[in-house]
């Protein structure tokens, strides 16, 4: 990595106002870029299984009503409507296993 490193392998890397020539690490390249969360998107905060689904697209739902139950680590977690609104789409089915950050429900 030392002698063999060619100048062309270095990238510009900005720290405050200045750019440095350097190499990147695998971990840095694979880091997650920040996205501002969209409150209309209901994503899974933990991987698990959908064990109950209470809403359909087009349905009007009031704040605090149960949207679905997500079972994870032997715990049945309630996923509630965050505010009054209309369901735009439902992307999960009962019995489905989903990963973390999966877009389960979209609100209009």
């Amino acid at each position: 990595m030392t002698e063999a490193t060619k100048d062309s392998e270095f990238v510009d890397f900005a720290v405050t106002a200045r750019k440095y020539k350097t190499l990147l690490t695998k971990k840095f390249i694979n880091r997650k870029e920040w996205e501002t969360p969209n409150p209309n998107n209901i994503k899974s905060y933990i991987p698990g299984t959908i064990i109950e689904l209470n809403v359909k697209p087009g349905q009007k739902v009031k704040q605090g009503e149960l949207l679905l139950r997500l079972e994870a680590m032997k715990m049945q977690n309630r996923i509630d409507m965050p505010f009054d609104g209309i369901i735009k789409s439902v992307n999960v089915n009962v019995g489905e296993k989903i990963p973390k950050n999966f877009l389960m429900i979209e609100i209009e």
Binding site: F10, V15, A17, Y20, K21, T22, L23, K26, P47
Partner: protein, 514 residues
């Protein structure tokens, strides 16, 4: 002649027990590309030095048909021996005996040898190769793990503790290595995880191989759980021996002094470091240019490579190096590199190993991921570790020393004993571009040609502040030195501080930002 008969019987019995799980199990172990527990111990220790303890210990479990099972040595080999003539305590889990599974007696053999190591003040080496808790023994196995972890903690900072992962090490078992000072892994052989791929897939639906989840490379590069990574068991044993040769046997001793050697690397520091602060170089070359025989033994080479840590010898004495690495991520401090440096500093401080810090860093890594990952509390560990350390602490500022990074990297203000700077050092509150943008914001904005004005103001800042003399004028650095003076100065500082005595207030223990 009856004693002679007894001796022959003992030999026969030992020969059977020493085979662990027997020939078939040994063949299976070899087929997996692994050495047996006994071969491993014999390969690590000086010839004929191994004295085994507790070969005839038997488990006491009576449920699930276990009363009819004889487990030779209860799946672990323990004992004492020497490395380079110096005593060590050692244990190796024997995968050929019921998968090296840990039952209460197995654990008690381990805790006995750990107690012995702590009492005799000698290093303890543990070789892990175990399927995990022996389920038949129920909470007896859990009790066993707990008793090991307790002893790992008691021995921490008193004797060097080394873990070698030469097989699976899963579930609670991983916490013993995690509590020890150095973890060694070998490609394709080591596997460490809390929950294995099977559980992860059944609970979460995530499919991953053992190797991808917790193989040697993952722990050496991504998690930072491992400190040394080798391609084969024999390479791994060489690394362990080298490490042991650099360390004292306990916190009441100093590492053995060896015959001093001059650096073999013929490159001069002045040729290694580019003048342009934006250009990278390998800071390990600077270390090699100053240490005995240019022999630098790096720790956690693959993890957070933006900081370099490791051991070397200066004039025959062991020293620990912490150095920013401009080659990776411009040498910034971030969560991982802070954790890596802080733990190493505390190890050196515990074991009377002087610390040499080579500084060339532009600051902390900007980014939402870093802030949200807690770079504040991770970064604070470095400040804590340096401030707390009472071993001789020397800093050489090679080039950039900006802002919080300047303070963190063993500055005078955190208690450094000696701070030197090369003429290329830039000690300032931030990089000239950033500083000029803030201080001269109005002038730049109102100028007919803002870019030209900015360039002029940046140059003005460089001329005035991007040098070592502002800090030197305030006494924050002791001397501005020529690159070629570095080795001799470092040797002098160590000889001056041999009997260093530093006051610390009495306390039960501090509360570092874990």
């Amino acid at each position: 002649m009856s004693l002679q008969k007894d001796i022959l019987e003992l030999r026969e019995k030992k020969a059977i027990y020493e085979k662990g799980g027997g020939d078939t199990a040994i063949e299976k172990q070899m087929a997996m590309g692994k050495l047996t527990a006994r071969q491993r111990i014999l390969a690590l220790l000086d010839e004929h030095s191994f004295q085994e303890y507790d070969l005839f210990v038997e488990h006491e479990e009576r449920n699930f048909g276990m009363d009819k099972k004889t487990l030779h040595g209860d799946g672990v080999i323990t004992g004492i021996g020497t490395m380079f003539g110096e005593p060590v305590c050692i244990y190796a889990q024997d995968f050929t005996v019921m998968g090296g599974s840990l039952g209460l007696k197995h654990a008690r053999k381990i805790t006995k040898i750990m107690d012995h190591a702590l009492k005799m003040k000698v290093p303890c080496i543990g070789i892990n190769d175990s399927g995990g808790a022996r389920i038949q023994e129920g909470i007896g196995a859990l009790a066993g793990y707990g008793e090991i972890f307790y002893r790992n903690t008691m021995a921490s900072g008193v004797i060097p503790q080394i873990s070698v992962i030469l097989g699976p090490c899963a579930g609670g078992a991983v916490y013993s290595p995690a509590l020890t000072d150095f973890v060694f892994v070998v490609e394709n052989i080591s596997k460490m995880f809390i929950t294995g791929p099977g559980v992860i897939e059944s609970v979460l639906g995530e499919v991953i191989s053992q190797e991808e989840l917790g193989g040697a490379r993952i722990h050496a590069e991504i998690t930072g759980n491992a400190h040394f990574y080798a391609q084969s068991e024999f390479d791994c044993f060489d690394q362990i021996k080298k490490l042991i040769s650099l360390l004292p046997a306990s916190n009441t001793k100093r590492a053995a002094k060896v015959e001093p050697k001059v650096p073999s690397l013929k490159k001069q520091i002045g040729q290694i470091i580019p003048q342009d602060p934006k250009k990278p170089y390998d800071v390990r070359d600077v270390i090699r240019a100053v240490v005995d025989d240019s022999d630098f033994f790096e720790v956690q080479e693959l993890f957070a490579p933006n900081i370099v840590i490791g051991f070397a010898r200066l004039n025959g004495d062991t020293v620990g190096f912490v150095a920013n690495q401009p080659l990776y991520l411009a040498g910034v401090l971030d969560c991982d590199s802070s954790d890596k440096a802080a733990r190493f500093i505390r190890f050196c401080d515990s074991f009377n190993i002087p610390l040499i810090t080579l500084e060339d860093m532009p600051g902390y890594l900007p980014g939402v991921d870093q802030e949200h990952a807690g770079v504040i509390r991770h970064g604070a560990k470095v400040l804590y570790a340096y401030s707390e350390a009472t071993v001789p602490k020397v800093t050489v500022i090679l080039r950039k020393a900006y802002g919080g990074g300047y303070i963190a990297m063993n500055s005078r203000h955190l208690g450094a004993d000696f701070v030197f700077a090369l003429p290329s050092a830039e000690i300032a509150v931030m990089g000239p571009e950033g500083a000029a943008n803030i201080i001269f914001a109005k002038e730049i904005k109102e100028a007919a040609d803002p870019d030209a004005m900015r360039a002029a103001k940046v140059q003005e800042y460089v001329d005035k502040f991007a040098n070592p003399f502002v800090a030197a004028a305030k006494g924050y650095i002791d001397a501005v030195i020529e690159p070629n003076e570095t080795r001799n100065l470092l040797i002098n500082t160590l000889s001056v501080s041999k009997d260093k005595d530093d006051y610390r207030p009495e306390k039960k223990h501090g509360i570092p930002p874990f």
